[in-house]
Amino acid sequence: MKFAIQVNEGPYQHQSADTAYQFTKAVLEKGHEVFRVFFYHDGVNNGTRLGIPPQDDRNITKQWTALAEEYDLDLVVCVAAAQRRGLLDENEARRAGKDADNIADKFRISGLGQLIEAGIQADRLVVFGD
């Protein structure tokens, strides 16, 4: 079965960021397909590569990147939500005249249409948030 996941909260602030990861991992381990993980609201902050969590804590962004590498996941960060919150890839940074980008490996920035498409294409869409 094809799943889509929406993540609405940022890392560390709210457990839903972890729950979304644990759920997605379980979906993949059971042999289902994940059409897309879509990060919205403060959820876009899961995609920054500049976070430095304490060494004895999990690194949520790296967990996602590793999962994406293993299963070829599509991790999409909403562009409108990301621009508001200062999450940029190289293109966005250049276009907006910013001096840096901060998106993590395997994440990509795209439009809200990707969420709707995920809702259309996937058999189930599960929202995690506050």
């Binding site: 609405n8 839903s16 759920f23 379980a26 979906v27 059971k30 189930r124 599960v126 929202v127």
Partner: protein
């Protein structure tokens, strides 16, 4: 239909709204802070016990364990699932509503 609730009923009304809008025979899964609603002896326990008669009510075991909530104090009729069971609940229901 699967209803997912992640708020403590002592803090927010998500669970109460969910119970008022869940059809009989639907499935309810308590995760994150909503797991407190699965415990005996609280102000919402009677309500949850009767909800468990109308609907299938599940609680996410890793969230219970994280919060030190013992299995033996779970309201009778409420079943525990792990993440794998969570995935099955989503797959087995035609649609999902997260009561954020």
């Amino acid at each position: 239909m699967l209803h997912i609730v992640n708020k403590s009923p002592f803090e927010r009304n998500s669970l109460e709204t969910c119970l008022s809008l869940a059809m009989d025979n639907s499935t309810i899964l308590l995760i994150e802070d909503a797991v407190y609603a699965a415990m005996q002896g609280g102000k919402f326990s009677d309500k949850m016990a009767s909800a468990a008669e109308q609907c299938s009510v599940y609680v996410l075991a890793p969230d219970l364990q994280a919060r030190g909530m013992p299995d033996e104090k779970i309201i009778s009729g409420i079943k525990t699932v792990d993440y794998s069971g969570f995935v099955d609940l989503v797959a087995d229901n035609k649609n999902v509503q997260s009561w954020l």
